[in-house]
C-alpha cells in the first residue's frame, strides 16, 4: 500500500530497538497506512549505526537511508544517541561533498509511543526520496 505513485524504491531504515523500532511497531499495531519502500534493520541503539553503514547502503543500491533512535536524553544506554548525533551530522555534511544528495539520508528521533510521528516520518522521507528518483538510474538503463 504505497502512498507514493510509481515504482517502489529501496529505502533502508536503521531503527534502535528501544524507541524507534517500538514506534514503528506502534504505528503497525494502530494500522496507520505507510509507504512500503522502507526496509527496516533493527539495531540495539542508534549509537550502533556506523556512518559507514549508510555509505555502504547508498553505494550498493539503496536510494535512501533513514536512521532513527531514541530522543536525546532518552537513550536506553544513556548516551548512545548523543554519539550517534555527532557522527550522523558529520556524515550528513560529507555526503554532498562526494556527490550524493544529502536528502537521501535522514536521521531523526522517534519514541516507542509516537506511532503517529513514525507514520509521518516514513511518509515524508519516502516522498522526499521519490522526488529525487532512483540513485543508480543511469547504470540500470546502461544494462
Amino acid at each position: 500500500m504505497s502512498g507514493v505513485a510509481g515504482k517502489e524504491l529501496r529505502i533502508v531504515g536503521f531503527l534502535c530497538n528501544w524507541c524507534s523500532y517500538g514506534g514503528a511497531d506502534t504505528a503497525g499495531v494502530a494500522r496507520f497506512k505507510q509507504p512500503t519502500d522502507l526496509r527496516i534493520i533493527r539495531v540495539p541503539c542508534s549509537g550502533r549505526v556506523d556512518p559507514l553503514f549508510v555509505v555502504k547502503a547508498l553505494l550498493t543500491g539503496a536510494d535512501g537511508v533513514l536512521v532513527s533512535g531514541c530522543h536525546p536524553r532518552d537513550c536506553h544506554y544513556t548516551d548512545g544517541n548523543f554519539y550517534a548525533r555527532r557522527r550522523l551530522e558529520m556524515l550528513k555534511r560529507l555526503l554532498p561533498f562526494i556527490g550524493i544528495d544529502e536528502k537521501r539520508f535522514h536521521y531523526t528521533w522517534v519514541s516507542a509511543s509516537e506511532g503517529q510521528k513514525w507514520q509521518q516520518v516514513v511518509t515524508d522521507f519516502t516522498n522526499q526520496v521519490h522526488k529525487l528518483g532512483p540513485m543508480h538510474a543511469k547504470k540500470e538503463s546502461e544494462g
Binding site: 555527532r86 557522527r87 558529520m90 561533498f97 562526494i98
Partner: protein
C-alpha cells in the same frame, strides 16, 4: 633552513637518555630523503636536514615502546599532539626536537618538472631555490613552486610541542581563512560534478593501501576493516564501488582526527587527492565544534565525546 649541525649537536646531547633517535638521511639519490634511525651517537654524521625531509616521522611513535628522540617540523608536531589527545603515546617517553620549517618539497612535483629524468645531484641555493642536475642539464625551481599543497596554507611552521627547539620560531604568513578555501570552492560545484570528479579520481585507485599505511592516525594497521573477512566491508573485487568504499572508510575513521600532514597524498602512486575528503570533514568539525586537530593536547577529539545540548547541530526537518 640549514640547521643540520645544530640538530646533530642536540641529538648527541640527549643520547644517553634515549635509545633511538628518528631523523632523516639521504635516500637512493639526492632528491630523496629517507627516515634514519640512530642508535649510537656516532651515526649522527649521516643525518641530513633540508626541504626534502618531508616525511612525517611521528607515524613510528605509537609502535615504539622504548624511549625515543624524534625530529619534527611544525606539521608533524600536530600528529604528536593528536596522539597525546588519544592517549596513544606516553609524553615522558618521547624527546621532541622541534625544527621550525619554511616549507618542504614535493618530490612528485619536482620529478614532473624534470620529466622524470634520473637525478645526478641536488643543491639548495640561498634564495629559496632547489637546483636539480640531471644528465639533460640542470633545472632551478623555487621551493615555493614545488611544495606540497599543505605548505601553501601552513598555519604552524613552528612545532607546537617540543623539548628542544632548533633556531628561532617562525610565525605563519599565510591567512587563516585560506586553509579551507579549496574545500569551499569544490563544495560550490553541483552534485553531479562532484560525483563525476570522485568517480574519475577513485577509478585510478589501485588499492595499494599506501595512503592507509602512511597515515599516522591509521593505528589499526593489521586489523583494518578494509582487509578483514569478518566483518567483510569490502571485497577484493576490482570495482569503483569497492574503491569508493575504501576511501570512505579511511575518511570516516579519520573524522575529527586527521592532522592534515598530507602523507596520504604524498605516497599515493596514482596522484589521487585523498586528503581532500578528510580536509572537508575537518572543516565541518571546525564549524560544528570549533575543534582543530592536533593543536591542544587537552582537547578531546569531537567524535570521542558529546554535549547533551549541541549548539550547532539542529534537528533536520523533512
Amino acid at each position: 633552513m640549514n640547521n643540520a649541525e645544530q640538530i646533530k649537536e642536540t641529538i648527541a646531547r640527549i643520547f644517553p637518555d634515549v635509545e633511538t633517535v628518528i631523523c632523516y638521511q639521504q635516500g637512493f639519490d639526492g632528491l630523496h630523503a629517507t627516515p634514519y634511525f640512530i642508535s649510537i651517537p656516532e651515526q649522527v654524521n649521516k643525518l641530513i636536514w633540508n626541504p626534502l625531509c618531508a616525511q612525517n616521522l611521528t607515524s613510528y611513535l605509537p609502535s615504539i615502546k622504548k624511549k625515543v628522540g624524534i625530529v619534527v617540523k611544525g606539521c608533524d608536531s600536530r600528529t604528536i599532539i593528536q596522539y597525546l589527545q588519544e592517549g596513544l603515546i606516553d609524553r615522558a617517553k618521547v624527546v621532541i626536537i622541534g625544527v621550525p620549517c619554511t616549507g618542504v618539497i614535493s618530490v612528485k612535483k619536482v620529478l614532473r618538472e624534470i620529466g622524470h629524468q634520473p637525478v645526478v645531484d641536488v643543491v639548495f641555493d640561498d634564495n629559496g631555490n632547489i637546483v636539480v642536475k640531471t644528465q639533460k642539464g640542470e633545472k632551478r625551481l623555487a621551493i615555493a613552486d614545488v611544495c606540497p599543497d599543505k605548505c601553501t596554507t601552513c598555519q604552524y611552521p613552528t612545532p607546537l610541542v617540543y623539548d628542544h627547539l632548533i633556531g628561532e620560531p617562525i610565525a605563519s604568513n599565510k591567512p587563516k581563512e585560506d586553509v579551507y578555501k579549496d574545500i569551499r570552492e569544490f563544495d560550490a560545484k553541483t552534485l553531479e560534478e562532484k560525483r563525476a570528479y570522485w568517480e574519475k579520481e577513485f577509478e585510478r585507485c589501485i588499492r595499494c593501501y599506501a595512503c592507509r599505511n602512511a597515515c599516522p592516525m591509521c593505528i589499526c594497521q593489521d586489523s583494518c576493516i578494509a582487509e578483514t573477512r569478518e566483518p567483510h566491508w569490502i571485497s577484493q573485487r576490482l570495482s569503483l564501488q569497492e574503491k569508493f568504499m575504501f576511501h570512505m572508510i579511511h575518511a570516516a575513521h579519520l573524522a575529527g582526527r586527521c592532522v592534515e600532514c598530507g602523507e596520504c597524498e604524498r605516497v599515493c602512486p596514482m596522484d589521487i587527492p585523498v586528503a581532500k575528503l578528510k580536509k572537508k570533514i575537518n572543516a565541518e568539525m571546525k564549524e560544528l565544534f570549533n575543534y582543530e586537530t592536533g593543536v591542544n593536547p587537552d582537547d578531546k577529539p569531537p567524535m570521542y565525546t558529546f554535549n547533551v545540548d549541541e549548539a550547532k547541530i539542529k534537528e533536520h526537518k523533512l
